[in-house]
Amino acid sequence: MPVIRLSINRLIKAIGKEVSLKELERLLMRLKAEVEEVGDNHISIEINSDRLDMMISEGVARALKGLLEIEVGMPRYSYRDSGYKLEVLDVPSRPYIAMAIVRGIESSENYIEELIQFQEKLHTTIGRMRRKVAIGIHDLSKVPSRECVYRELEPSERLIPLGYSRSMSVAETLSSTEQGRLYGSISLRGGRTPGIVCGETIISMPPVINSNITRITEHTEDLLIDVTGIDLDAVIKTLEILSTTLAEGSRSRVIERVLVKAPWGVIETPRGDAKVMEIGTDWASRILGIEGMDPGEMARKLLMMRIDARVLDRVVEATIPPYRVDIIDPVDLVEEIAMAMDLNTLEPEPLATILPGKPSRESVVRRTIRDIMIGLGFTEIYRHVLTSSKILTDLGYNGFLRIKNPVSSEMDAARPSIIPSLLETLRRSQHSPKPIKIFEIGEIVTRDPSIYTGWRTRLSLAAAILDYEVSFEDIQAPLFSLLRSLGLEPKTVQAKNSVFIDGRTALVVVNDKQLGYVGEVRIEILSTLEIDFPVALFEIDISKILEILG
């Protein structure tokens, strides 16, 4: 979840009223946000990633003013034509762009810090690390022309990258600046990369870096915002959030539109269109669980969430400001009502008492087997399903599930058997007092072409004994005791297996069904795993026992 650091002075000024820290915490909680840390001049707040409009003081204050009823309903901004034009040529690697102008901002060191943070938080969320959407913000007075072109730049064209004092070629900017190395490959196409050129000057190289020429300073008055990307809808939404939120903190609250002429259409951005949605009041009452909630009260709660609302017949018509891109369905408005009410004032409705639930069949058998194994003197262990492919290969397993992107080589495969988990535990515990008798009941994953994923999760039981001396009967006896306790009549049949010593390996058979293996572990395996004592063990498939028990 994104955490933003705000200047306390700016936040209080934007709210326009002193608010105690306790009150602030309580209010932010109702907006899905949480105070993380409070410093002398700064406050860190965790914002929910659906509230992209709250990544800067102006946006947080706008929402808080609603809850405090200082200002309710949809905020108004006036829109007019700027006279700026953007011609868009064919940019196949990053086709979409939109621009806006916001005038009369109050820049300062803190403002610039928050502005950059706002931009970065949008990059990491809706921007998908600048791949889907990237933002450039410029000092309008330094933009050299009212006529701009968005096109691919040749590697030899030159600019002064933001933060540098000398001019560089596009190719050098990509290869030698930090931003170039991080983001240079995103929209690169045969050495060419997108650029915004105003007059003769490159002002931005999205999604990589701006030019130093249009740098924002403490004297900046007016902003030019560009948003580029590979998804027009996301580009437009990002621009709506930025333009309205920055205009919220401006003196004029005026947003100027830019004419964008592109192969994919001619539009003036930003639109600033409010979305209208209707919610049935009976339906909303039912979802909230408040019978017959007053439609007027619902409308008042929406106004507190900065959404315009008026009551029609059994319906509330809501007008949603353009920056609330998270609201896509009427049910989202029901949540807004609940948030305005404060969830903790809503009295929880107890469930009607009903009969106890049914455990799964696996759980029932699992519990029974667990009790019997403990009665037989085996201590229960509990290990991961993820294990190392190396140990599986050492034990002679193949065709097991491998993880494509493992976190570590210790956990790069799913176990097809519990035996590796037991042997690993014995290796680590072999110097504990003996005899060591352990078992695990757990999931294993095996190849099975008959189900739609090709991999079946099965429940398995394995038990082992490690001691100074161990023999086949030492493990066979408890195995038979367990199966007979379950009402099954077991047989063991001479067999071969990669884990067990030849001549001391048997298949476990019940009703002609093979449940698993029992035997003494091969000396080579013990020495590979660095186990210095003999081990005998068995493993049986509980899923098959369930089939037999019916």
Binding site: K32, L288, G357, K358, P359, S360, E380, Y382, N405, T457
Partner: protein, 439 residues
């Protein structure tokens, strides 16, 4: 009889000591270096000795001044035989006093420090039969002296036996009971709570297509949670979604409408290790569409998470769903309050939250000891899009919780890896009795 007891200290060879009866690791190292022409790289030694033994060998050889290390190579400078140490270990197999071992106190201390010897308290008992005693022995004549009772003795009940007294105050051999695993016990307790609240238990596969893990839960196909640094992807192979034709139609429609892109079925069939147990509850809902439904799962989930005291790539979640004809936000809060009370918390605080598949969404916080308020639930009513995809016509309350963190709070454990320990001694140490009061 005259009995005299004398306490004395003896040394006994440990299992570690038994390993070194033939040669000490540093001696083996020196021998190896000799065979390799006087020097070898640390890597070569580790390959031959194993990491642990190699580091012991190198450390002690250095301490004795037998080797020096030069840019990753171990160079031999000559040593001496440790035969005296090994002789001492041999003597101590059955226990021996410091004098018997013939080592200096520094040498003795070294073997104790290296855990090859342990110091034990032993009692020496000297029994002297005095004159009177000898006379009594003569009087006893044919009397049978018995030390261990047998079946024969019990059946025959012979006259004139003498059952030797035991030292009943001596310490017996140490044995351990078989333990149930404390974490499995905790999972069982959660299961009982859920069953008692009327929820049926679900079990499901660990390997699932993204269809269940993400798509039906309305997670956008380009959502970062799906990327390889968040979800563990199964190598090779994909699910055959042929049986889910109708479902895919509905999912495709909702995604195109809600997210404004063209839905990609090949992403839906990609196989992943289940990253949330909601993948199982939503699949259950798909097959159980008529109210009332109350179901839960406690199961393993997998994420691309680093391994440290707070994170593991494999952990547990509990997910529950409840469908009724008139499920509402207040009823959801009611369920959450009941579950929290059943877990033993007095109070729960609700905060609006965000999850891709619920609206309204609620987070639940409880107070845990010194930790203060800790998030325990994520919950909400399934979004209309999710309900339409699952083919369900009634509202459904859903919630999920991380089980491992809760277990850690209950069991007073501060390292998550402890829950899956391979050390038997740790299991012997945990008791159900160690359950902590958490409020």
């Amino acid at each position: 009889m005259k009995i005299e007891r004398r306490a004395r200290q003896i040394y006994r060879t440990t299992e570690e000591g038994l390993k070194n009866l033939n040669s000490f690791p540093e001696e083996e190292l020196l021998e190896l270096l000799k065979r390799m022409g006087g020097a070898a790289s640390i890597k070569e030694i580790e390959d031959l000795f194993g990491k642990e033994r190699a580091s012991i060998a190198i450390a002690w050889a250095r301490r004795r001044g037998w080797v020096r290390i030069d840019s990753g190579r171990i160079i031999s400078t000559g040593g001496y035989s440790m035969e005296r140490y090994r002789k001492a270990l041999e003597k101590a197999v059955k226990g021996a006093t410091a004098e018997d071992l013939g080592l200096s106190s520094e040498e003795l201390a070294e073997l104790v420090r290296r855990r090859m010897l342990v110091k034990e308290e032993a009692a020496e008992v000297i029994i002297e039969i005095l004159e009177n005693g000898l006379k009594t022995l003569e009087d006893l004549g044919d009397l049978v002296i018995v030390s261990k009772l047998t079946r024969d003795i019990v059946i025959q009940k012979p006259r004139g036996i003498y059952i030797k007294p035991y030292n009943v105050e001596a310490e017996p051999a140490r044995i351990y009971p078989a333990y149930r695993h404390f974490y499995v016990d905790f999972l069982e307790m959660l299961r009982e709570i859920m069953l008692s609240l009327g929820f049926d238990e679900i079990s499901d596969d660990l390997v699932v297509p993204e269809l269940w893990n993400f798509d039906v839960l309305f997670q956008a196909q380009d959502h970062p949670a799906r990327e390889i640094h968040d979800t563990l992807v199964v190598e090779g192979g994909e699910a055959d979604l042929g049986i889910y034709g109708d479902l895919l139609e509905r999912v495709s429609r909702e995604h195109s409408r809600g997210w404004g892109y063209e839905y990609n079925r090949s992403i839906a069939s990609r196989l992943v290790m289940r990253s949330q147990t909601t993948a199982a509850t939503i699949r259950y809902l798909h097959y159980h569409r008529e109210p009332p439904v109350r179901a839960f799962i406690i199961g393993r989930v997998f994420r691309f998470d680093r391994i440290d005291a707070k994170h593991l790539p494999e952990f547990h979640q509990l997910d529950g769903i409840a469908m009724e004809h008139d499920m509402s936000l207040r009823k959801l809060l009611g369920i959450l309050t009941q579950v929290t009370k059943a877990l033993g918390f007095r109070e729960v605080i609700f905060k609006p939250g965000y999850f891709p598949f619920t609206e309204p969404s609620v987070e639940g916080y409880v107070r845990i000891g010194d930790l203060g308020y800790v998030e325990i639930f994520g919950s909400g009513l399934f979004r209309p899009e999710v309900l339409r995809m699952a083919g369900v016509k009634h509202n459904v309350a859903a919630w999920g919780m991380g089980v491992d963190r809760l277990a850690m709070a209950y069991l007073a454990i501060n390292d998550i890896r402890e829950l899956y320990t391979p050390e038997i001694d740790r299991l012997r140490w945990h008791r159900i009795a160690s359950y902590k009061t958490i409020h």
